[in-house]
């Protein structure tokens, strides 16, 4: 038996070099896969000196290493203070009901364990069991915050020290918050939310955040307008270049509209697309023009970048970003906001913000997929499905499907324009996360990429390989439709790491690219397997 499977809850407080390690031999095996995984690269001594690196072989949340007993105590006290606030309605009106019911009603029956792709991919490493993290959190809450009578005796004792706190913070970043575990819970408890709430304590109370999400993420968006650091001038320039390049390449003239007052639609892209996948931006412009829509982009602060990393770790940052995006729509007087291909942005602005935006900013918001489906089905575009005659499967972004129920429009389109479309299993609301969910897709520090490849992205890779089991190898070109910027970031890195283009002729990209690839008014070859 793998030694890690014997991991106990109380180990989290122990003075050990690390809590656990997922060895290459522990990893879930993949179908027809002869890639030998390496052991983890060591975390540098410099990082170990500065930050607490005692969970496993990766460092995501940089918790400063306490140097004195006073600093150790301060870490614990800050955490407890944050947990107290987390259970007050004033500080956590957003999630208190859900968190408290989860704390009180989880039966600790392990029904959720097998739903977790991380638990499965890691070879059932105990740390990844959804209730491992929650149970530590619950024991601290019941004993030190709620102070229930005989709590230690009733729920189990747990030594609360700085190691417990630091490991719990890091452990909150060993979950994609895909909520597949919550979906299986017979009672309705949500152990994924617990991970998010722990992240909130670290960010909102202790000021300890993941730099990619905070300083280089939501704060950069509030400062410059986008987490890409593009200002309004830069973003407009970049889109102009995209218009020029793709007009020439496709033979379809486009000029992306900016700040058009009174347009029907404010389209908000994930600005990462502009830099990493410009073909996605161009494809929207081509489709919307061909469909004759009245639409615009906004160059207002945060309104040309749909990302809202607050969803992953901080309610205040979430609210700030959502308000700015709604304000931009209100200013332009558009009839609705349409979200481009970005899952968490969909969820943030369409659903979560629904009980945050005041009435005057409650501009209607919808997904791009129903709109694209209606366009494709309307006959406004001349489409030739034979241009997409290669095996295509779709990866369902969790935020779009399990968390919003937007499942069929994408399939209606693919069934119409991709003759060799096939599903992954399971899919739709029961999909598996790509492994980049909740922010990891933009992280590449120390061994984070290794973790993303070996553990977080492993189940999705298995699903992809299985979906193409009839066409493995480099001879047959294959396409994974991943209509989400974050998911594409994860797939990009996984595909590159495992050389899937070379070995399997496998590429990923969005849905709009496939639509444009099938448009007869556009030069053939919009979807490419090689850099051109």
């Amino acid at each position: 038996m793998n030694a890690n499977k014997k991991l106990s809850i109380n180990d989290v407080s122990k003075d050990t070099e690390k809590l656990t390690s997922v060895k290459p031999e522990d990893l879930m095996s993949l179908p027809s896969w002869n890639v030998k995984e390496e052991d983890w690269k060591p975390i540098s001594e410099d990082l170990k000196e500065k930050y607490v690196c005692i969970l496993d072989d990766t460092l995501i949340l940089p918790v400063p290493k306490p140097k004195t007993i006073q600093e150790e105590e301060a870490l614990v006290n800050q955490f407890i203070e944050g947990m107290r606030k987390l259970f007050t309605k004033e500080n956590n009106w957003t999630f208190l009901q859900i968190l408290e019911t989860t704390m009180n009603h989880c039966a600790r029956c392990n029904t959720c364990s097998d739903a977790c792709h991380l638990f499965e991919a890691s070879g059932r490493n105990e740390m990844y069991r959804p209730i491992y993290r929650s149970e530590i959190f619950r024991r601290i809450y019941k004993t030190y915050v709620k102070k229930e009578p005989f709590a230690k005796w009733r729920y189990g004792d747990l030594e609360l020290n700085w190691r417990t706190v630091a490991r719990l913070g890091e452990m909150a970043y060993r979950c994609n918050i895909c909520r597949r575990c919550a979906q299986t819970c017979p009672i309705g408890a949500d152990n994924a939310l617990v991970a998010r709430e722990i992240r909130k304590i670290f960010s909102q109370e202790m000021g300890i955040t993941v730099p990619e999400l905070h300083e280089k993420g939501s704060m950069l968006q509030l400062e410059k307008g986008s987490s890409t650091a593009m200002t309004k001038l830069v973003v407009k320039d970049n889109v102009e270049f995209i218009d020029e390049d793709f007009s020439e390449e496709t033979g379809f003239e486009i000029e992306t509209p900016w700040d058009v007052e009174g347009a029907d639609i404010l389209l908000i892209h994930n600005a990462g697309e502009i830099l990493a996948w410009p073909e996605n931006i161009a494809a929207f412009s081509i489709i919307f023009k061909a469909a004759g829509l009245s639409w615009t982009l906004s160059s207002d602060l945060a309104a040309y970048d749909s990302i809202n990393y607050g969803v992953f770790y901080d309610d205040v940052q979430f609210a700030r970003t959502a308000l700015l995006q709604a304000q931009a729509a209100k200013k332009l007087g558009v009839k609705k906001i349409v979200l481009g291909e970005c899952g968490h942005a969909h969820k943030a602005l369409t659903v979560i913000a629904d009980r945050v935006l005041p009435e005057e900013l409650n501009v209607p918001r919808e997904s791009c997929f129903p709109l694209l489906r209606d366009i494709v089905m309307s006959g406004k575009l001349k489409l030739d499905p034979s241009r997409n005659n290669f095996p295509v499967t779709i990866h369902d972004p969790c935020n779009l499907t399990r968390l919003m129920g937007i499942i069929k429009p994408q399939r209606d389109i693919l069934n119409k324009i991709c003759p060799q479309f096939r599903e992954m299993h399971p899919h739709g609301a029961h999909n598996y996360c790509c492994g980049g969910g909740s922010g990891y897709a933009i992280m590449s520090r120390n061994t984070i990429p290794e973790w993303r490849f070996k553990v977080a992205g492993r189940k999705k890779l298995e699903q992809i390989l299985n979906a193409f089991s009839d066409s493995r190898g480099p001879e047959q070109k294959k396409y994974v439709c991943a209509p989400c910027s974050n998911c594409k970031g994860q797939l990009r890195d996984v595909f590159e790491h495992y050389e899937l283009l070379e070995k399997e002729s496998l590429i990923y990209n969005g849905l709009v690219e496939l639509i444009v690839n099938a448009m007869v008014d556009v030069n053939p070859g919009y979807v490419k397997w090689e850099e051109e």
């Binding site: 106990s8 809850i9 800050q78 203070e81 944050g82 606030k85 309605k89 004033e90 500080n91 009106w93 999630f95 208190l96 009901q97 859900i98 408290e100 019911t101 009180n104 009603h105 600790r108 392990n110 029904t111 959720c112 149970e135 005796w153 009733r154 729920y155 189990g156 909520r179 919550a182 979906q183 017979p186 009672i187 309705g188 949500d190 909102q204 000021g207 704060m219 509030l222 410059k224 602060l301 940052q317 609210a319 700030r320 700015l324 659903v351 629904d354 009980r355 009435e359 409650n362 209607p364 919808e366 997929f369 129903p370 499907t401 399990r402 919003m404 129920g405 499942i407 069929k408 609301a429």
Partner: protein, 308 residues
């Protein structure tokens, strides 16, 4: 002693009601959470089959929402009566937990029939009265319920004790809860088999309780059974087993809580209220700017650049 048992019965009923009301009111009084639904949402009607939502429509806010009660029942009935989620996702646990829960359901059904008999007796029905013909069913449900609940709780106790994956996450509360069921149901089983096979003592006891007629309890074992049952009755809603009624909120309000804010005065009033709550988070990007309410903090940009 008999009077004390009657008194314990009143206390147990009151404690039970207070606990249930307290939990429900505590939940309802908390501010409405942000939307955090999980699909499939059962009331989505036809769309629920593929896990879809009203958000699959263009201009969804202009369309009439269809909420399917039948859709909810199609999910709730297999979940409540057959523990479908455990069957699908945790098969090794299903038999023991299903025996336990089915036992409880049968006991609930038994209590319902017993109360019919009780009221029939109070209004003067004789043993031959029509309503008393449910007695064979009542006896079956009571007996089977006790046996299944006992077997289920023993199996669950054994699993929590012996299976490493469950043992690690089992607190003393689990063992106490299950232990209480084992003890209570064991005594109930012996009482049923050897003292009160037709539950006549039970019926008479409740009739006496309702009529404040503290007739001496005819059998010590029956008295012990009532003491244990009352303690258990009062205790259940104080524990995580309160999910038997809180599950309504966990499913209908959270998991399936997809009510959109379209001309929704209740939600708008709620937003207006919570945005004026004070915020006391200490991190520098929130605190230290002289902003004290959510509205002020959320509309404040700590890194705003002057417009160029």
């Amino acid at each position: 002693m008999s009077i004390l048992i009657y008194l314990l019965g009143y206390i147990a009923v009151i404690a039970f009601l207070i606990s249930v009301i307290h939990r429900v009111v505590s939940y309802i009084k908390q501010p409405m959470h942000v939307r955090w639904e999980l699909y499939p949402v059962a009331h989505e009607g036809k769309r629920a089959a593929h896990g879809g939502s009203y958000l699959e429509d263009v201009d969804w806010w202009k369309k009439k929402r269809e909420k399917s009660l039948i859709g909810e029942l199609k999910v709730m009935i297999p979940e409540i009566f057959f523990l479908k989620a455990v069957w699908e996702h945790n098969r090794p646990l299903w038999l023991s937990t299903y025996a336990f829960h089915l036992g409880l359901y049968l006991i609930c059904g038994f209590l319902g029939l017993l109360m019919i008999n009780v009221f029939a007796q109070i209004i003067g029905c004789t043993e031959n009265c029509l309503v008393l013909t449910v007695s064979p069913l009542m006896i079956f449900m009571g007996g089977a319920g006790i046996v299944l609940c006992l077997v289920g709780s023993i199996m669950l106790f054994q699993k929590r004790l012996n299976e490493p994956e469950l043992r690690e996450y089992s607190g003393t509360d689990h063992y106490v809860n299950l232990g209480m069921f084992i003890v209570s149901m064991s005594i109930s089983l012996i009482t049923w088999l050897f003292v009160d096979p037709k539950f006549i003592m039970a019926r008479d006891f409740i009739v006496n309780m309702i009529q404040f007629n503290f007739t001496p309890i005819p059998n010590n074992l029956f008295g012990l059974q009532m003491i244990l049952a009352f303690i258990l009755f009062a205790y259940i809603p104080m524990t995580h087993m309160s999910h038997f009624f809180m599950k309504y909120f966990l499913y209908h309000d959270i998991r399936w809580g997809d009510e959109p804010n379209v001309n929704n005065l209740k939600v708008q009033a709620h937003i207006g209220s919570v945005l004026n709550y004070p915020v006391s988070w200490s991190a520098s990007h929130i605190a230290g700017h002289g902003k004290t309410t959510w509205a002020e903090v959320a509309t404040f940009n700590p890194v705003a650049q002057p417009e160029s």
